[in-house]
């Protein structure tokens, strides 16, 4: 059970950490879903070509960076609406991958990694431990970067008051771009983690994790450590509600909503008791 929770947590956490960075820099990353999907696909491409999981993770990160570069060009250079460009990123990924898939693999559907997938994924317990610890370590690193380094200060300034950065001769766009690319890498790795763990790419395999990642960012109060907690909460209830299908008579379909409901409750409880200050830096939707 714990292993299941941790392995469900990893991709959400990774994607949410990237999103936390962009959110701190003033970009609500609506495109995470598409970035995860892209990472998953290209990791399968790379693993199929090389037989190495590490190559898969790198390829996933690289693909995520590439797509988020497109996204950031749209948002920053063309000044497209962040929200619309994010939705476009998701559409673009879901629409483009089938073509590439047809080219690489001759199918637009499921792509199994050609190599022995248990060798690629490794021993499940060890793998889960490595990824869980790794992603939590990354969370700590992201927290350190955000709160202890000049880079983090600039990122927070880019979200808090970009003018303050601009008048000091530092371009806020540069830090938005950096965080968007980082978020692309993180989401790409999240996708790659799912795909290499399962040894397969399935169309739409991201399955809403990008949105859950956004939830985790806010439930975690935009703080990497809080985001870890939020990801654990969501993953935990997802696994629990799945387990509940096995021992209750409640229809399975109804149980599917439970993780969302519990997270909603957690969000509200947290809002009532846990938070003294308001979420800052979230631009009003009509600006």
């Amino acid at each position: 059970m714990i292993t299941s929770i941790l392995s469900a947590m990893v991709p959400i956490l990774l994607a949410a950490l990237g999103g936390t960075l962009t959110e701190r820099a003033g970009v609500l990353n609506i495109g995470i879903e598409g970035l995860i999907l892209t990472g998953a696909f290209f990791s399968v491409v790379a693993v199929s070509a090389t037989g190495s999981m590490v190559a898969g993770l790198f390829a996933g990160a690289a693909a995520g960076v590439a797509l988020s570069a497109v996204y950031s060009v749209a948002c920053i250079e063309l000044r497209a609406n962040i929200f619309v460009a994010g939705l476009a990123t998701n559409l673009f990924a879901a629409g483009m991958i089938p073509f590439l898939s047809e080219t690489f693999f001759g199918t637009r559907g499921v792509v199994r990694i050609a190599h022995d997938s248990s060798r690629i994924a490794g021993d499940p317990a060890i793998r889960t431990a490595v990824f869980a610890l790794g992603s939590i370590a990354i969370a700590a690193a992201v927290a350190a970067i955000l709160f202890r380094t000049p880079l983090g200060m600039r990122i927070r300034a880019a979200g808090g008051n970009p003018d303050a950065l601009a008048v000091r001769g530092v371009s806020p766009s540069r830090y938005r771009r950096i965080t968007m690319l980082a978020s692309g890498a993180f989401a790409g790795i999240a996708g790659a983690e799912i795909a290499t763990r399962l040894g397969v790419y399935v169309p739409n395999i991201s399955a809403g994790r990008g949105w859950i990642a956004l939830v985790a960012i806010f439930l975690g109060a935009r703080n990497p450590i809080g985001v870890v907690a939020a990801s654990v909460v969501f993953a935990g209830f997802e696994v629990l509600s799945g387990a509940a299908q096995g021992f209750t008579n409640v229809p399975g379909t109804l149980l599917l909503g439970v993780p969302f409901l519990v997270t909603l409750a957690a969000m509200i409880v947290y809002s009532i008791f846990g938070r003294r200050t308001r979420i800052q830096g979230q631009p009003s939707p009509n600006e």
């Binding site: 202890r148 380094t149 000049p150 200060m153 927070r156 808090g160 008051n161 601009a166 001769g169």
Partner: protein, 507 residues
């Protein structure tokens, strides 16, 4: 090094959104070690000119050169040693003061980490004006005066240490206390004596006269004169005045209706306390504000002025005690049985105005119901109302401009005009003269006195003792949340009040 230090040549700027020619072929040379003041009415183009120098606004034409080297854009000007403290401080609320001070030029530890210790030390040696305990506070929690000082220090720290630079200060002494003002003046003198050029934008003509080496007067985007010290206040005022100003704009709000509460005189505070966590902001205050007079409150903001502003305006409720109008109503921004006092808040852009709205949107906000018929806004009436506000205080803008297109002083005028036009029975004004040119400031003072004369209750909260003395009938000094003095104007000297505010009981 034969080149003159800072040279502006034929700078021009027309804002395309509203076609305003804010800076019109301005040329100027500023020497090393010089304090050069730029004065002019609100909207004259001072801030725009400074923005052209610091590079945040791109000029349409003309050049800026430093020691003979042309400078383009913010990054370039920062690199050349041109630094600026802005009229609205550009600080990041969720960063600490220390982080804000070094943002963009962070000292590093192990190449990666922000070196707090080195940063703190640098502040202590280069800018002792900022108290050490303030450094780890978030900017969000600072008063306007403290923000101004933080902004100034951020600029100071960026000045090159190995060669002369340029520091531009846009209204550095607005909303600062007497002590703070004195410190800032010291810093300016010290910086100039270190060889840097100081360009100072200010409406405090007295101050300008005493510290500037030369003064340039700006009017409607152009330089009208540059004078060397000594310069008299009267000369500056004469040169600043546009020919039509005093008469063509009507001096009063002409569609004022009778005060809404002719019988509801005064405002009573009984045992009012307010705390923030363990901190006592106000301590069992009992006090009556009489109608027909202007009561001025002076004191450092943390000493209770800020809390009092929230209470008098109905924005916050006292933890203990109560505040009522003479006829027993309570005060609040909204509600059936309550009174919304006219209120000019200390934060002009967060609460005082909707920056993404138009000037008209902002001017009709309080009286939107009166300007509507059966739930539909009467556009003609709304426009008339906006126009009359614009005329009343000589706001330098059209009704359909975005608030962002206004100069600093004109934003303040909009807020004042809106609150004055609503004919409030009770009017609470924080820093009435903030950012206003001296002519407008006098006009605003006259308006406040007029509201009182018509039976209104006016409370002025100010860090500027001179202004408080000028506009008030009665002065109340606060220290540590208590009243330390309650005087009729004319019975106490300026310096005595200043000492009271600073907490000196022997005053």
């Amino acid at each position: 090094m034969d080149h003159p230090h800072l040279v502006l040549e034929s700078l021009c700027k027309t804002y395309p959104d509203n076609g305003v020619r804010a800076v019109d072929t301005c040329s100027l040379t500023v020497d090393r070690g010089e304090i050069h003041a730029i004065v002019g009415d609100n909207g004259a183009g001072k801030s725009t000119l400074m923005h052209l120098v610091s590079g945040v606004v791109a000029a349409d034409g003309g050049t800026v050169t430093l020691c003979g080297v042309p400078v383009h854009g913010t990054a370039d000007s920062v690199a050349h040693g041109i630094v600026m403290s802005y009229q609205t401080p550009r600080l990041v609320d969720e960063l600490t003061v220390l982080e804000n001070l070094f943002l963009g030029e962070e000292p590093r530890r192990m190449h990666v980490f922000f070196d707090r210790r080195a940063a703190t030390d640098r502040v202590a040696t280069l800018a002792p004006i900022i108290p050490k305990r303030m450094l780890n506070r978030r900017v969000r929690t600072l008063s306007s005066g403290q923000r101004r000082i933080a902004s100034l220090v951020a600029a100071l720290l960026r000045l090159p240490t190995d060669r002369p630079g340029v520091i531009i200060l846009d209204e550095p002494t607005e909303a600062t206390t007497i002590d703070e003002t004195a410190q800032i003046v010291d810093v300016i003198r010290h910086t100039a004596s270190g060889g840097h050029a100081v360009v100072l934008v200010s409406h405090r003509l007295q101050e300008v006269a005493s510290i500037a080496d030369r003064v340039t007067v700006m009017r409607a985007g152009r330089f009208v004169a540059t004078m060397a010290s000594p310069v008299s206040v009267a000369d500056m005022a004469r040169l600043m005045a546009t020919d039509d100003r005093p008469t063509a704009r009507s001096a009063v709000l002409d569609d004022r209706v009778a005060a809404t509460e002719p019988d509801g005189h005064g405002l009573k505070l009984v045992d009012v306390s307010l705390t923030d966590g363990d901190r006592v902001l106000l301590d069992a205050l009992t006090l009556e504000l009489r109608s027909g007079e202007v009561t001025g409150f002076v004191g450092v903001r943390e000493n209770g002025i800020e809390a009092l502003e929230l209470l008098l305006s109905g924005t916050a409720r006292p933890a203990l005690g109560h505040i009522t109008t003479a006829n027993g109503r309570s005060i609040a921004p909204r509600g059936r049985a309550t009174l919304r006092p006219g209120y000019v808040p200390s934060d002009r852009t967060t609460r005082g105005s909707a920056q993404s709205g138009t000037v008209q949107d902002n001017l009709i906000a309080v009286e939107r119901r009166r300007l509507s018929r059966r739930g539909i806004i009467d556009t003609a009436a709304a426009r008339r109302h906006a126009q009359s506000c614009i005329r009343a205080l000589g706001i330098d803008a059209e009704a359909n401009w975005s608030m962002r297109q206004l100069s600093g002083g004109n934003v303040q005028k909009c807020i004042l005009a809106r609150e004055l036009a609503a004919s409030p029975g009770v009017l609470v004004v924080s820093e009435p003269g903030w950012g206003l040119d001296s002519a407008t400031r006098s006009r605003v003072h006259a308006q406040l006195r007029r509201v009182a004369a018509e039976g209104g209750t006016v409370a002025v909260l100010s860090t500027d003792v001179d202004e408080a003395l000028e506009v008030s009938d009665r002065i109340i000094a606060l220290h540590a949340g208590r009243i330390v003095a309650d005087l009729r104007v004319g019975t106490a000297s300026r310096s005595a009040i200043a000492r009271l505010v600073a907490g000196d009981p022997t005053a």
